[in-house]
């Protein structure tokens, strides 16, 4: 019971409540588009974008912006659109372009921080942006509100365009041939993913975002067979793991992002086994 008491004690702190609210919202949003990203082979774009977001964050830090959210959001959304364009049009391998941009953004970001940072603890700062070690625990009320609004937008987009997202993911040619504006929806998906990535940076840092997007989808796909059940399952999976991970990290003082991802990995293992079991029974 000592653990529960300790938990109750921590829960009375506002920063813990904020962290939990933000964590649940972010993990919910990031899981919804996971299936689409994995199946459209877009997951590498998510990875690239998270590095771009890191670069933008470094620029914001150098410019000493107190509110860095708008800048990071704008840069990431624009990169998402550009990446999607190059992926579709040019015959230069899309994934090579993404790798170039993402590594470039990472390097420039670190370089900028190194050159201009006045902080005494540079490697600590970098580590924080990459692994999000503590930022989720230092959210202000305004951060939580921004996070809430963006999450509602992401959720609304997902629900309203659910059928279109399904069509475009399952069979883009058919969707296009029968009058669905597939490129518009691809663009929408890219922009929403960019928003999710900027949000998720607070939770797990820019290096671990892909885990938040991919683990729930891959786990749910092991066990469930329809798009709807996979989507619902990934949402529940993601929220549960994020909440568990947050609580564990608060209780035991481990870094938030890595703890959440560790919980994701364990849960994936469970689903993997469940999938095998189900298959052997069928």
């Amino acid at each position: 019971m000592a653990i529960l008491e300790k938990l109750a004690y921590y829960m009375s702190f506002q920063f813990v409540q904020y962290a939990l609210i933000a964590g649940i919202l972010i993990s919910l949003c990031s899981s919804l588009f996971g299936v689409t990203l994995v199946l459209k082979r877009f997951s590498f774009i998510g990875d690239g974008l998270s590095h771009v977001a890191f670069g933008a964050m470094a620029i914001a830090a150098v410019m000493k912006l107190t509110n860095n959210m708008p800048l990071i959001l704008a840069v990431t959304v624009i990169s998402a659109i550009l990446l999607l364009r190059t992926g579709q049009r040019a015959k230069i391998k899309g994934d090579a372009a993404v790798a170039m941009i993402s590594v470039g953004a990472l390097a420039i970001g670190y370089l900028l921080m190194n050159l201009f940072s006045t902080s005494s603890n540079l490697s600590g700062d970098v580590c924080t942006t990459l692994f999000g070690s503590t930022s989720i625990l230092t959210l202000k009320q305004s951060d939580v509100i921004v996070c809430g609004v963006l999450s509602v937008v992401v959720l609304a987009v997902f629900i309203v365009f659910y059928n279109k997202i399904f069509s475009v993911t399952f069979d883009e040619d058919f969707a296009r041939a029968t009058g669905t504006k597939a490129s518009l929806y691809n663009l929408l998906i890219a922009v929403v993913v960019a928003v999710i990535i900027v949000l998720a940076m607070n939770l797990v840092g820019s290096l671990l975002i892909s885990a938040l997007v991919i683990f729930p989808a891959l786990s749910a796909m092991r066990v469930f067979k329809s798009f709807k059940s996979v989507t619902v399952c990934s949402a529940i999976f993601s929220v549960t793991c994020a909440t568990l991970g947050l609580l564990i990290s608060i209780l035991s003082g481990t870094p938030v992002g890595s703890t959440i991802v560790a919980v994701d990995i364990v849960a994936f293992g469970v689903f993997y086994l469940a999938g095998l079991f189900r298959r052997s029974k069928a």
Partner: protein
Amino acid sequence: MAYLTARDISLGYEGEKIVTGLCFEVDPGDYLCIVGENGSGKSTLMKTMLGLIPPLGGTIERGDGLQKNEIGYLPQQSLIQRDFPASVTEIVLSGCRGEGGFRPFHSRSDKEAARANMERMGISHLAKRCYRELSGGQQQRVLLARALCATKKILLLDEPVAGLDPKVTAEMYSLIEELNRDDGITIIMISHDIAAAIKYADRILHVGRSVFFGTKDEYLGSENYLRLTKAGES
């Protein structure tokens, strides 16, 4: 006015031409069969008709008020996501386009159409099954049901009977004939089954090094027909 008018179009990928000098028209109510050898460019032509890829030369136009959301399409197998988690019902429903305007959810009439088309294709008992766990022929029927949901005026079929057993093949041909005759749906079908093409189609488009477009009686006397059938015998 015709639904589709192609004037001297060339087909291909990345500037490399596969077929040149195609001229044809598809009128409302037509039953057109596209024939030709493997790799001659039939699927490419169908994608060009659908506006998925641009022609390398010439023009192809939609006319007579044909809207994109009145088109049904059955792609050639194997192009679809292999490991996609989706139930049969979800896939068939995704063919329902709704009449104009944007609606976020499927209406009751959409669901009814999906149910009816699954019944027509004899896959009602598979409704809840996962698409990727079906046999090739069953998958083909799912995609056909989806195409039927999307069809209002015209149906484009890329090898619709590939992978179907003889009984279902025969049913498929009579179903397509029924759609054409009774519902006035225009049919464009790619097929390697020359006998069936000649039996059911009004017009034939032969794609290859030399192209042919005309009625089936004209086709029976043409060199293209003789060459295609001879090659099969030797």
